[in-house]
């Protein structure tokens, strides 16, 4: 089956490309072409996968059981029963598409880097390798390995091609993420020892052996019973959930684990900021859905309030921080913190609407944040500073660019018919919806019962105010940078004017921003079939609660 092959090719083509990039001797053009070619090949593979998946899965309608397709399952490290499992489902396919599209765009965006372009692209392709691996791997250990693999290239990409305080930002990024991955490691040790001890009829995972197969764990009755509420490992489950949450919250990043993000963004070169905000942050959200919420549904219910608080704080706090920034790029970086808060909130409340919203927010923010960072980069390349106070009148001097900028920033602002809106709206609506299941939830769920309604409404109201703050800082920025009388120092002409290549990058992103905003079903038609199944313990909360009541 060629598509199965494509899925694995998707992981390894970038690795091959990374090697191939090293071959040509002092011939930057060839290097760039190789890199671009690799990205395009990946994109084509990915599109083929997407079409086949859509064609065979159809859209809309809850899948029953696992809808993982094109699954490859090879024994990797037999001694610990670690497998090489890759597969595609609605949970990772849209993110894969996002990654592929952004890769092409970003390689185009980094076309004019002179400094060691070969090394840059080689590292970037390695990063691609890591990203595809993270999204495609369905084995916990494999996931962990790729999670780390994606870390190192980023360290160097920031550390070598970054700004004045690049080493600082790079090592900070590295240390933060390392702490996160160590939490993962501990959970993995836990799996290794606890899973074999699970006994019971439904224990189908690895009959007495450890298993890191995330899909199997999510669906295995014995595992769910043991790690579910009232199960033997209920306490462990809660610990594991929080450890995993911390390690992914660092990646997302959620306040207070976010301080690496502004530094990393400010120091990183534009293309790297784009991929960092566009895809790497999404790894955290994706992992939350794939691991935390799918494997520990009960712990997720137990932790809903804590997680929701993380999301809420991120939304409001990030927005306020963004408002106070005078560095343009920092503002955008903090806006990422605020926007990813909706992802966490939407996941926390455990409603289908919220989950859809969270997922769409990841895709939409992937486009809009990448675009915003590029918009900043385009000006930074010419003005060589990012002081919001010193800009002004760009609307006059670069009208076409400003038109595209409006699309980008208003998408970030969450304007309807742009990619920022559906995610936010659905997350918020889902938050309100949470009182449905909370009122009927068992008493071990925090704040369960009739009082839940008021609490949930309060959370929703606070979260909704984030919308105003967003409008505040985006518009203020827009006014300071683009409005006002034209300043001569920012009027560029000739080869200083915005190049067609740059217009291409911005235009493609703008098109996707509008496309996703007007037809969000592009995403939902791919995800919807999975979201019922990937959350066997969670998708249908009513039946889940019933089973729990049965369990007790």
């Amino acid at each position: 089956m060629p598509i199965d092959l494509f899925v694995d090719l998707l992981i390894f083509v970038p690795a091959i490309g990374a090697v191939a990039v090293l071959l040509p001797r002092n011939n930057p053009a060839a290097v760039k072409m190789i890199a671009l070619g690799t990205a395009i090949v990946c994109l084509l593979l990915n599109i083929a996968i997407a079409f086949d998946y859509y064609g065979t899965t159809g859209s809309y309608g809850i899948g029953s059981g696992s809808v993982i397709k094109y699954m490859t399952d090879l024994v990797w490290i037999d001694s610990v029963n670690i497998h090489y499992i890759t597969g595609v489902d609605g949970l990772n396919l849209p993110l894969l598409l996002l990654t592929s599209i952004l890769n092409v765009i970003i390689i185009a965006a980094s076309w004019n880097i002179e400094k060691q372009i070969k090394g840059f692209l080689c590292l970037y392709l390695l990063l691609m390798f890591g990203m595809y691996g993270v999204f495609l791997s369905l084995d916990f250990f494999l996931f962990y390995v790729f999670f780390e693999v994606s870390l190192l290239p980023m360290y160097f990409l920031i550390g070598i091609w970054g700004g004045p305080r690049k080493e600082y930002a790079a090592i900070k990024f590295f240390l933060y993420t390392l702490v996160g991955s160590i939490c993962l490691l501990i959970v993995m040790l836990g799996f290794y020892f606890l899973i074999p001890k699970i006994s019971g009829a439904e224990q189908a995972v690895a009959n007495g052996k450890a298993s890191f197969n995330m899909i199997a764990l999510a669906e295995d009755g014995g595992f769910q019973r043991a790690f579910g509420q009232g199960g033997v490992y209920w306490t462990h489950a809660k610990w594991f959930f929080m450890l995993l949450f911390v390690s992914f919250a660092i990646k997302v990043p959620a306040v207070p684990f976010h301080t690496w993000l502004p530094d990393a963004h400010v120091e990183a070169p534009t293309p790297i900021s784009m991929i960092l905000a566009g895809v790497l942050l999404k790894m955290g959200g994706y992992a939350l859905m794939r691991i935390n919420y799918a494997i520990f549904p009960d712990a997720a219910m137990w932790a809903w309030f804590i997680v929701a608080m993380f999301g809420l704080v991120a939304i409001i706090y990030g927005a306020f921080c963004a408002m106070a920034q005078t560095d343009w790029k920092k503002l955008v970086a903090y806006s990422s913190v605020s926007h990813m808060g909706y992802v966490i909130l939407g996941l926390a409340v455990l409603t289908t609407a919220g989950r859809n919203g969270a997922y769409f927010q990841m895709i939409g923010h992937g486009i809009s944040s990448a675009m915003m960072f590029y918009l900043v980069g385009v000006v930074y390349e010419r003005a060589h500073h990012r002081e919001l106070g010193r800009f002004g009148g760009l609307w006059n001097t670069m009208p076409a660019y400003t038109g595209l900028a409006a699309v980008g920033f208003f998408a970030g602002l969450g304007l309807p018919l742009l990619c920022g809106f559906p995610g936010e709206a659905l997350s918020l609506l889902g938050t309100f919806k949470a009182s449905d299941w909370l009122t009927t939830a068992p008493e071990w769920v925090p704040f369960a019962g009739a009082g839940a309604e008021a609490l949930v409404i309060t959370i929703g109201i606070i979260a909704a105010t984030g919308v105003v703050l967003t409008a505040g800082y985006v518009l203020w920025m827009f006014q300071r940078v683009y409005m006002g009388p034209a300043k001569p120092e920012y009027s560029y002409s000739g080869r200083e004017s915005v190049q067609p290549r740059e217009y291409f990058v911005m235009a493609v992103l703008a098109v996707f921003a509008i496309l996703l905003g007007v037809f969000p079903s592009i995403v939902f038609s791919l995800t919807d079939a999975t979201f019922g199944a990937a959350y066997a313990g969670l998708g249908d909360l009513v039946s889940n609660l019933a089973s729990l009541v049965g369990a007790n």
């Binding site: 976010h258 706090y317 409603t351 859809n356 609506l429 909704a464 105003v468 995800t527």
Partner: protein
């Protein structure tokens, strides 16, 4: 023609402008001059109007049934969706026709007004986008689509107000408008959220099949908003007020009203359509559309807001000297009327007034635009006067609209300008509402009809004031007066058309009000609550149509068409010589301060700037400080510790990566000082440490033996006990 076709016609009319926008924004720059793109947009709007006109005619002629055509948009899981799509009933077809007509006229007007502006085609494109957004609201059947349109009109209003972004005023005004609207939208979101989890998941107002949609769900669950005992009362009230917050933002109701006057910084065509005729009325439209879920609590809230707004705005309008600001405040006041109408239950009259008001207020703004255009963008009325001779057509149009807004009618007859009919219905409804309070022994309820009644006398006054100051009397600024000239046809023609509509649109023969009222059953009968509202409102309607009952005599002047004469005469007398009289009056001590206060709009702007804006910025600064100092500071804490340990052990090393966190890094480097010290290269130190540690370890395990465990067997326990004691 079937109703599906009508719906498709409307959809076409709805989507045409966005096509026009796209084409112009992308390819407009290809043309040397801006005229071709501009006229192209006019053409597009015209087509759109024709389509919706046909739709209107067909719908009315065949007396069709309401029809909705849901499109799935946002997936909310389990195969369910938030739906968008057109909803066709009398109200939507009427409003479609009205908006497209006015938009077409304003497009033509803009062609003239924006002549020579370097960004004219972009302006026209924005207008197209705005029309599309407005139609999105008008045609919406689901809250989510309403919200989409809501935000889009907000955006276009932002772009249009800030069209002359080089100037500081428009920058601030546009930002203010957007943020204020967003505050309202937050309420909208909240209300939407509550509705989402309480009444039907798809946020559709009316569904084709009963039992679905918001109203349908309510009907199916037997929720009656008027039934105070029902458990959902509370949620319904919150939801209603939340959604109404959106209306407050968009319709600039108190306390979110301050953005509208500032919005006059935008080009006058913008004011004429966005900030008078259509967008600001969207709030009224929303409130009317969600009427069936409004509880008595929500009613009280809405009517109070409406009352405050209409009084406040009217008073302020009397003191303004900027012609556009006068019109802006009169718009606020009229919006107050409409909101009040919704609050008191006469929402069909709110819609009716929305339509009539749209025509005459749009006309008024266009006239003021022509005047400003003629007077070198001078907007201060003290500089005007006696322009009637210079620009008669404009003056006529202005006069007609003034009469219309004043609710002029031939006494004791039914013959009147459009404003009379709609406003009268509102007042009748208000009286009803007040009476209802009175019946329950709450005499203060009478405020709800004294307010609108009195302001019904004030409105003609300040409108006449504006007219006199502008067109009559002697010219007060020679220079301006000399250069003044009649506007080109592209500007006066639309004014006359609008004036014509301002006269006739309300006439019963055109059945506008009646057909809107006819929607009441279709809007309401889905639920029990609807029936109650129906009766409650038809009382108001009958009161208006029959003019029979007792309270008519008490308010005879208004209801028999006298209310406009006296204030107008008064205004004409006072202001015939400009500000000669008033300046003397307001020279008096107390009145002086009073006038100052009113002139400065009761200082709401200053209040908001000082409190909310400043507060927000302070909080932001605090947050950023906290982030830098505390959150990052915690991360750097180990670095700090390390540094001090480093001082203790001495020996620094700064060739490693600089910066604070490599916190672990730094601290460990300094810790390294210890090892640096110990690893002194002195052999005997090494051996000493070795033996010391060895003997210590020995002691740890031997001492317990010495302490009385003679027999070795127990020694193991003793040793392990001490060891574990040491390690825990």
């Amino acid at each position: 023609m079937t109703v599906e076709t009508v719906s498709n016609l409307l959809v076409a009319a709805w989507l045409l402008p966005v096509a026009g926008f796209t084409l112009v924004i992308l390819f407009g720059r290809l043309f040397r001059d801006h005229e071709k793109p501009a006229w192209f947009t006019v053409l597009v709007m015209g087509t759109s109007f024709v389509l919706s006109a046909i739709a209107l005619w067909q719908y009315m002629a065949n007396g069709m049934e309401p029809y909705c055509d849901p499109w799935p948009w946002l997936a909310i899981g389990e195969g369910k969706f938030l739906e968008v799509g057109p909803y066709v009933d009398e109200v939507s077809v009427l409003l479609m026709a009205m908006v497209t007509l006015i938009s077409t006229l304003v497009h033509i007007y803009s062609v003239g007004y924006m002549h020579g502006d370097p960004r004219k085609s972009r302006f026209m494109a924005y207008m197209q986008l705005f029309t599309f957004s407005m139609l999105t609201i008008v045609i919406a059947n689901s809250l989510i689509q309403l919200f989409v349109g809501w935000e889009l009109v907000g955006l276009t209003s932002y772009l249009l107000i800030g069209f002359w972004y080089e100037k500081r005023g428009p920058q601030l005004a546009s930002k203010k408008a957007f943020v204020m609207n967003r505050i309202g939208d937050t309420g909208f979101l909240i209300g939407m959220g509550i509705v989402f989890f309480k009444f039907g998941g798809d946020l559709v107002l009316r569904s084709a099949e009963p039992g679905l949609g918001i109203f349908g769900t309510m009907a199916a669950n037997g929720m009656n908003p008027l039934d105070l005992s029902s458990a959902d009362q509370w949620w319904l009230t919150i939801a209603g007020i939340g959604l109404f917050c959106g209306a407050m933002g968009k319709s600039a109701q108190f306390p979110l009203h301050t953005w509208l006057p500032d919005a006059m910084e935008g080009p006058t065509p913008v004011s004429s359509i966005v900030h008078s005729a259509t967008m600001v009325a969207a709030g009224v439209y929303l409130s009317a559309r969600i009427f069936p879920i409004l509880t008595p609590g929500a009613h009280l809230f809405i009517s109070t807001i409406g009352l405050i707004t209409l009084v406040l705005a009217a008073v302020i309008a009397c003191a303004q000297t900027d012609i556009k600001r006068v019109l802006a405040y009169s718009t606020l006041s009229q919006l107050g009327y409409m909101i009040l109408a919704v609050g008191v239950g006469a929402y069909t009259f709110a819609l009716f007034h929305l339509i009539t008001h749209a025509f005459f207020k749009c006309c008024l703004f266009q006239c003021s635009g022509s005047v400003i255009h003629a007077c070198h963008h001078e907007q201060e009325m003290p500089k005007y006067g006696g322009l009637m001779r210079k620009m008669p057509l404009t003056a006529i149009a202005f006069a007609i609209s003034t009469l219309a807004i004043a609710g002029a009618a031939i006494p004791y007859t039914e013959y009147a300008l459009s404003g009379f009919y709609s406003k009268d219905g509102i007042i009748a409804g208000a009286i009803n509402y007040g009476e209802a309070f009175g019946r329950n022994g709450m005499s203060w309820g009478s405020l709800f009809y004294w307010g609108p009644v009195i302001i019904a006398y004030v409105t003609p006054f300040y409108m006449m004031r504006a007219f006199v100051l502008t067109f009559l009397g002697k010219p007060r600024d020679k220079h301006i007066h000399d250069h003044a000239h009649e506007a080109p046809w592209t500007m006066w023609a639309p004014q006359l058309v609008l004036a014509l509509f301002a006269i006739i649109i309300g006439w019963p023969m055109f059945r506008v009000g009646a057909s809107i009222h006819a929607t009441a059953p279709t809007m309401l009968t889905h639920d029990a609550a609807g029936q109650e509202h129906l009766t409650m409102m038809s009382q108001g309607f009958d009161a208006h149509t029959e003019m029979a009952h007792g309270f008519h005599l008490t308010h005879g002047f208004l209801l028999h068409g006298f209310a406009w004469i006296i204030p107008m005469v008064l205004a004409a007398v006072i202001y015939w010589n400009g500000f000669a009289i008033t300046s003397r009056i307001f020279g008096l001590p107390v009145l002086k301060q009073l006038h100052w206060l009113v002139y400065n709009k009761f200082g709401f702007d200053g209040l908001y700037d000082t409190i909310f804006v400043a507060l927000c910025k302070i909080v932001a600064k605090l947050a950023a400080w906290f982030d830098r100092m505390v959150v990052d500071g915690l991360v750097n804490l180990c670095g700090w510790l390390g540094k001090n340990i480093g001082f203790a052990v001495g020996g620094f090393d700064d060739q490693v990566v600089d910066g604070a966190v490599r916190g672990t890094g730094r601290s460990a480097v300094k810790l390294g000082g210890v090892f640096h010290f110990v690893q002194g290269g002195n052999l005997r130190v090494y051996v000493l440490i070795l033996l010391a540690v060895g003997l210590a370890g020995l002691a740890v395990v031997v001492i317990p033996l010495a302490l009385g465990w003679a027999e070795p067997a127990a020694a193991s326990t003793a040793a392990t006990a001490t060891i574990s004691a040491l390690t825990q």
